[in-house]
Amino acid sequence: MTFQFEPANIPWLTISILLPLIAAGILFFLNERFAKPISIIVSAIVFVISTWMLFAYDFSEYKIQFYEKYTWIPQFGVSYEVGVDALSLTMYWLTALSFLISFIWSTNIKKRVKEYFIAFLVLEAACIGVFVAWDLVFFYIFWEAMLIPMFLIIGVWGYAERIYAATKFFIYTFFGSLFLLLGVIGLYVYQYFHYGKLSTSYFDLINVGLPFNLELIFFLLLALGFAIKVPMWPFHTWLPAAHVQAPTAGSVILAAVLLKMGTYGFVRFSVPWFPEASKYFVPVMFTLGVIAIIYTAAMALAQTHIKRVIAYSSVSHMGFVTLGTFALNVEGMNGAIITMISHGLTSAALFLAAGWIYERAHSYEMRDLGGMARFVPVFATFFMISAMASVGLPGLSGFVGEFLALLGTFKVSILFAVLAGIALVVGAGYTLRLYHNTMFIENEIDENKKHKWSQISDLKTSEFLSFLPLIILMFVIGIYPKWWVDLINNTSLAILSKVLGG
């Protein structure tokens, strides 16, 4: 497989990786009061760059654009190599958006403000790096480096059980990533022995023709790393703990960006690198995907902690991405990528909503909530739109991706499509239950609560500003999905070219 490159005139991607890092470094020596404005400005600049790229990207043919390459460790053939195709670009854009929103939301942070923003800025650089890197060592460095700030974010600014959750998150993902590293090194060494080439570049490794049994082994090694990050059932247990304990902005990043890394890995590496193994493992991935969808949907139905409901719903939505990816056809792949974007938006909005509720009501438990809708109409509307988008109501973003993913699945296996379709109904069930129990049931709650709710204020400006772009984008994707499908269609075809061609 050959690739075309379009070098960047100005190294925008490097700038957007370095800018947060430099800002974090400067912040370390500055007074606390500079933390918020600097972070917001920096992330806004990065977001503007990424949005501009989204429009500047030429999707008429598959090319790696804004491409930069510099030699880094020549002994191993490692180079600094960044660039975007539509998949990288949308993920990069989503990352920039999520961080901007998190920073705007975090203006009310009180505890160790400076360190908080430093951690988030470092995290932003690492997350962007993961999505735009095309060199595997470089990719892995960002993939792992991201653990350090996230560990601190959950562990320092989280809730009561935070240290347990942070450690569990770290060890779980670290464990998986090491197997990922083994797989990548294995492929690299194989390339060296059989092609005499020392390179960790994606564009070289993709052309390594592996024997079938090795393909299976490498696929499994990589899949373990990615599956833990997605997370797929049965590796999902770190996720509810981490989500529940993380601070609101941490949950937003975790759901909107970190979970995407796992599915990004499957789409970017597993499928194009190991086409035969991907085909071979379709039943396994489908089964795990459907189990994730149904099992976690059922789990979500049983939760009373609102963040836990959203966390399980994330696992469930990620199941659709797995299904779409391993349907191994273009509809499924498009669906998977759009679901990734859409889930980034909806889960971010839902976690913001949960954080908002906690800030006002000081509880995440459903029994302490209920009947708020009348007192906070703007919030209730936004929450409702997010919930509906998450459920997959036509006209909102969730529908497009899940519909395409199911369509792709249906072409391969009717059974799995039907099973996943049933789970959609359950999905509607738990999301509506979440909304119902927090916002409605005004008749069932006591006067105390009503009095309490009448005291609380609706969305503040910063909160409103964090919500607004998410809500707008949910409509944009839902009403006019054609632009997005056009954007990613060629990329999906390129990713699937080895599977479909072979």
Binding site: A145, F151, V156, A166, F174, V189
Partner: protein, 498 residues
């Protein structure tokens, strides 16, 4: 320099000039000895030691041409020069932390300085030995001085008597076990001599050329040699002295043992294996693979249970012996390069973590217990940040250099298709996250329990900051070190059968 050269060539030994670093260290040791004897001027002692070491370091760099000297008993090649440079460098950093610590604990003795220099001399002899006898002399010089150094916690403060007692216990334990190790090595040397009729590495290599040439005497010699070296490098199952000796010794001495002595031991392990037994690498590589796996498993699992951070670091150093010797399971150029690279970078991470403890132990009420670390990020944010860097580096998370070390070992192992050891390494790395993360989490995520006030000397601060910067820079740009390591490993391989 020319006067010295004239002087030494005047002695009649050919190529004596390449011994200048050793001579400088030896002379410095004697000067320090006499200063200690006559003046007791503490500042002067420290200054003389460091000046002597700097001079020795300079002379290491001034040697442009390696050579064999002392009629074939001593080799100065780029491999030994590289390790000498790093041994001297690490000793400088460690000695800079001696005085404030010893004065605070009231165990100040001038002996610490010149004994350290003698141990360093032993290590320098060890890394440039082409010969089992020279190697043995260097090893003994190093070990015996270190036995003494461990036991020197002779405090006048009543509240520290427990430490005093423990230090004697640790020293005695190391003396007994180390003595056994020495005995094993001398027996191994005797057997190797009996089987081959020579002490010289190259000649042994020319006799042990293939599987058939190995007779029972040679085999027994190799096995005993590996056991003895493993004991000195504290590989499981010969590690029992390590935690006690490391915990009991005064912390700067622990640093010296865990960093400088360890790295010298790694260097000689590589040298003996590659130069003396290159053609039977299949046999010893498997032995080292087993030792490495055992060290990783035992070291990491026991470290998980430790509440004392110093003891935890002792077990972590056992685990690191495992990671480093794992590279020997792949007896290829890549494996040796990974071995050298990891040994060199280990210096910076370990000095960082242990000098951190040295700096904190000087403060009243600090016991190295994990509870003492609670809330450190609030009380001294910079120190906590530095420790975080060292912990993540020891754990092997990019962008710190620890990751690059493990990456090299992985590459070597997979390149030689030793998958099982690579998988053990992976699992054990994940397990080691448990205890390194605990240090980070107690520093950042708990409220302080004790109200301690901390003060550090400028030297300690400077060393820690420097180490953290090195760890980060090498993590981002390891190219220079990789160059050095790969060159060294190719020189080692090229010199086989010289």
């Amino acid at each position: 320099m020319s006067i010295i050269e004239q002087l030494v060539t005047g002695l009649g030994v050919p190529n004596f000039a390449v011994l200048i670093p050793e001579i400088i260290v030896l002379i410095t040791a004697f000067i320090v000895f006499f200063i200690e004897l006559f003046t007791k001027n503490r500042a002067l002692i420290t200054a003389t030691t460091i000046a002597g070491l700097l001079l020795a370091l300079l002379s290491v760099f001034s040697i442009s041409q390696g050579d064999i000297t002392l009629y074939g008993l001593y080799i100065v090649d780029s491999f030994s020069l590289l390790f000498k440079a790093f041994l001297i460098l690490s000793t400088i950093f460690i000695i800079a932390t001696y005085r404030p610590y010893f004065e605070k604990k009231e165990i100040y003795f001038g002996e610490f300085y010149y004994l350290t220099l003698f141990a360093l001399l032993g290590m320098m002899i060890m890394v440039s030995s082409p010969n089992l006898v020279t190697f043995y002399i260097g090893l003994e010089l190093m070990s015996i001085t270190i036995y003494i150094l461990i036991g020197m916690y002779r405090t006048k403060r009543k509240d520290l008597f427990d430490y005093d007692y423990k230090s004697k216990e640790g020293a005695f334990k190391y003396l007994i076990i180390g003595g056994v190790g020495t005995a094993i090595i001398s027996y191994a040397i005797a057997l190797l001599y009996g089987a081959t009729g020579t002490f010289d590495f190259m000649e042994i290599a020319s006799l042990a050329t293939n599987e058939e040439s190995i007779n029972i005497g040679l085999l027994a010699g190799i096995v005993l040699l590996i056991i003895g070296l493993a004991l000195k490098a504290s590989a499981v199952p010969f590690h029992h002295w390590t935690p006690d000796a490391y915990e009991a010794a005064p912390t700067p001495i622990t640093t010296f043992m865990a960093v400088t002595a360890k790295v010298a031991t790694y260097a000689i392990i590589l040298r003996v294996m590659v130069e003396a037994l290159p053609y039977v690498s299949e046999d010893w590589s498997f032995a080292w693979a087993l030792l490495a796996a055992a060290s990783m498993i035992v070291g990491n699992f026991i470290a998980l249970r430790q509440k004392n951070v110093k003891r935890m670091l002792a077990y972590s150093s056992i685990a690191h012996t495992g990671y480093i010797t794992a590279a020997l399971a792949a007896p290829t150029g890549m494996g040796f390069a990974a071995f050298i690279f990891y040994s060199l970078i280990y210096i910076f991470m370990a000095i960082g973590a242990l000098v951190f403890l040295t700096a904190f132990e000087k403060n009243e009420g600090w016991t190295n217990h994990i509870d003492d670390f609670k809330g450190l990020a609030k009380q001294s944010p910079l120190m906590a940040l530095l420790m975080l860097v060292f912990m993540f580096s020891l754990l092997g998370i990019p962008p710190t250099v620890g990751f690059m070390g493990k990456l090299g070992v992985f590459l070597a192992l997979i390149g030689s298709e030793v998958w099982w050891l690579a998988v053990v390494l992976v699992i054990m790395s994940a397990i080691s996250a448990g205890y390194y993360l605990r240090v980070v989490s107690v520093m950042y995520m708990y409220e302080p329990v004790k109200k301690l006030s901390f003060s550090f000397t400028g030297a300690e601060r400077a060393i820690l900051i420097l180490m953290a910067i090195i760890v980060l820079i090498l993590g981002i740009y390891p190219t220079l070190f990789w160059n050095v390591s790969t060159t060294m490993s190719s020189i080692l391989i090229a010199s086989i059968g010289r």
